[in-house]
Amino acid sequence: MDISDIDIALHAPARLQIAAVLARVSDAEFATLKDITGVADSVLSKHLAALVDAGYVKLRKAARDGRQRTWASLTAKGRKAFAAHMAALKKLAAIAEEAAIAAE
C-alpha cells in the first residue's frame, strides 16, 4: 500500500463517505446515505452512478410501503478499493503529522 493508491473515484468527499458507510454495512438505503452525507437527491444519485460505473457499488430496487426504494452495496472490488484508499489516506496524513512535528 502506498499513496499512489489514492483513488480518484473515491476522492469526492460525499463519494468517500458513501463508500465508508457501505464498507461498514451489507447494504444501505438511498435515504440513509442521503441523511449521512447531507447531499441532495440528485447529487447523491450522481455519486452513486459514478461509483457504479467504477464497479465499486451495485444498486438494487426493493419495495417498501408501496414504493420502490434503492439500496446500495459495495462490490468486492469496491471494498478492496476503499481499503486501499483508506490506507493511503492514513499514510498521507501520517506524513503531514511528521512534517508538522519536524517543523516545531
Binding site: V21, S26, T32, I36
Partner: protein
Amino acid sequence: MQPSEAREALDSIQAADTKLAARIGNCPPWRHAVLGGIFALLIGSIAVSSTVQMLSLPVVLLAVFLTVRSDRKRYGVFVNGYRRGATRPVTFALVAVMIALVLAAMHMRNNGFTDASKVGLAVVAFTLAVMFSVTWHRVLRRELTGA
C-alpha cells in the same frame, strides 16, 4: 492530494461513521430478545425431538427473515453478523457456543433427559444469545465511534 486533504478526508469518514453509529448503535432490548428467542427455539426444539426440530425450522427461518426485514425498515441499513471488523470474533464466539449447545441438546434428546432440563437449556441459549447480541452492538458502536 495534499497531506492536509488526507486528514480532512479521514475526518469526513469519521463523521460518517459517527452518524452511522447514532443510527444503528442503539439496539432496542426487544431486538436482542428476538435473537435470544430464535436461538432458544432452535436449541429447545433439537432437545425435544427430531419431529419438533423439523416443525420448528420453518418458524426459525421465518423469524430470521422478519427480523432482517425489520432491521432494514428501522435502520435503513442491514449489518450482516459476519461482517469484517471488530464484531467478527464476537460472532464466531457465538457460533462456537451455539454449536456446543446443539451438541448438548442432541445429547439430551438421545439420553432421555427431563423436560425441565431441556427448558433449562433453551433458557441458557436465550440468555447467551442476548448477551452476545448486546456485546456485538457495543463492539460495533465502539468500532464506528472510535471510542
